[in-house]
Symmetry: C3
Subunit: 209 residues, 3 copies
């Protein structure tokens, strides 16, 4: 398999994790069956869809290749049926989610670059690909999106870091272009895992300044 194909397969694992996190939240909030399906779908493909709206590539990717939506559907039913057991898979879901975050952020930044966006555009496209689904999930369940808060490991920041690496490689190091997606994904994953392991946090404001 080419590196690109490997990435694509790993991306599927990330989609699984995103769909599972949406479905779990739906069950926790006592949504009904269709509510759980919707929440899983929004979490899994919402970020990429916002990205595609912003870069102007419509309909969004997930609607042009529906295989991903069938996977989301199946995952939701499994979570629905085996909620208790899936909930206990917190740790594997965490790692799959990190994998998905890294790959989606890198692919999003690449897509932004392809559509002619500049630095901030690529960073936005990458970050929203990675975190947008979770933000929509939180809004639809009445919560302030968790990614903006302290006391968590780096999340949006990790995605933004990986997206910036992809942009920098395409822009300034064309020799490494073949590796851009891999290096971007690894950057995101390394930032998130090291923040968890080392207790790294972003600064929060000293309001009494």
């Amino acid at each position: 398999m080419s590196p690109w194909q490997v990435l694509e397969w790993l991306g599927w694992l990330g989609t699984l994790a995103f769909a599972a996190s949406g479905a779990l939240m739906g069950v926790q909030k006592r949504f009904d069956l269709v509510g759980v399906l919707v929440l899983a779908g929004v979490t899994a493909v919402g970020g990429g869809s916002i990205r595609d709206v912003v870069v102007g590539s419509l309909p969004p990717q997930a609607f042009r290749n529906e295989a991903v939506l069938w996977v989301v559907f199946a995952v939701s039913l499994l979570v629905w049926r085996f909620y208790g057991r899936v909930e206990r898979l917190e740790r594997p879901i965490y790692y799959l989610d990190t994998l998905g975050l890294g790959i989606f952020a890198a692919l999003g930044a690449e897509r932004g670059f392809t559509f002619g966006l500049g630095f901030w555009g690529c960073v936005f496209a990458g970050t929203v690909s990675g975190v947008g689904g979770g933000v929509l999930r939180d809004l639809l369940t009445g919560q302030i999106p968790g990614i903006f808060y302290r006391n968590r490991d780096l999340y949006a920041t990790a995605a933004a870091g990986g997206a910036a690496v992809v942009y920098a490689i395409y822009r300034f190091l064309p020799d490494l272009a073949a590796l851009a997606l891999v290096l971007g994904s690894l950057t995101t994953i390394a930032l998130r895992l090291s923040s968890r392991w080392l207790g790294l946090r972003l600064p929060t404001p000293r309001v009494g300044d």
Copy 2:
């Protein structure tokens, strides 16, 4: 009148009901006059606009044929002025809302099909056409969107069912294409009304599983 024209006229009644439900919510939440207008407008045309963004048909339909926005404007002023009396029309509004849900879901699925979407794309386009306005209304008034919750009659599910029927007819039963919109609308309406009359509910999760 052709069946299509009948549907179009019935769709106007649905728009009335959607605008009225948004305006009523705005008055209940003590929004000011412009707030009520905005909420009525978002509720009436928000779903179709999300659909048009997703299928890539911009500007959204309501902005290309503004008659609907003038109707929303008039309805809002009437609700504002005669709030007490309109509020007591709960039952007729319920039936008009059901009519609108059915027609919008069918038209949304048709639009998705026209723009080349597959099964889930059409179901999404139809469902979001029917329920998207109400979801935005709930978000803007600080509520978790009601459609995801149990203890209500089927709503998003009914819209999704009707949209699926439209897709299935266009895809597999082209002989019935002329009837697709009518059959889709009737499916949604039948699902919603029967759920109300029979107390039908979607399953909710057994969390202690």
Copy 3:
């Protein structure tokens, strides 16, 4: 400088004020550094981006000319560092915000007109350009958007008024087209300031009607 260039420069001051208001809210809500950056960015360019999605001009303007995003970035860092001092600048920020509201509403309505929208389309494009960023900021921080409420000076209404003036001039008074943006901006600014100075309020519903 041509009047257009003056407007453009004044528009930058409005962007500064919008970014500052987003960043201040982020610090108040104890968002972390990246959260503050995101909130400032969404507040500053979110309204114009919704407008561009709706008129179908993608990617949105801010992503095609990133200078504005670098300004937002710088403002966010300054607010972060000097939060206490910036917070005390309430009054100048109020006036810059009013300036921005007026200019964005006028430019938004012009853009809607250019893309062929009618009356309500232009009013929507202008209003959402002016207030959309603030609405997104409020949603992301878990608040009901403030602009819909009474007991504030006119805000969305002022933007809508200015947008309507721009539309009316382009449509009915082409002789004044060169002045449309200036007159539209001044309308919005005058509406807002007079509502503050004169205690003008929109009517709120008499629910016991």
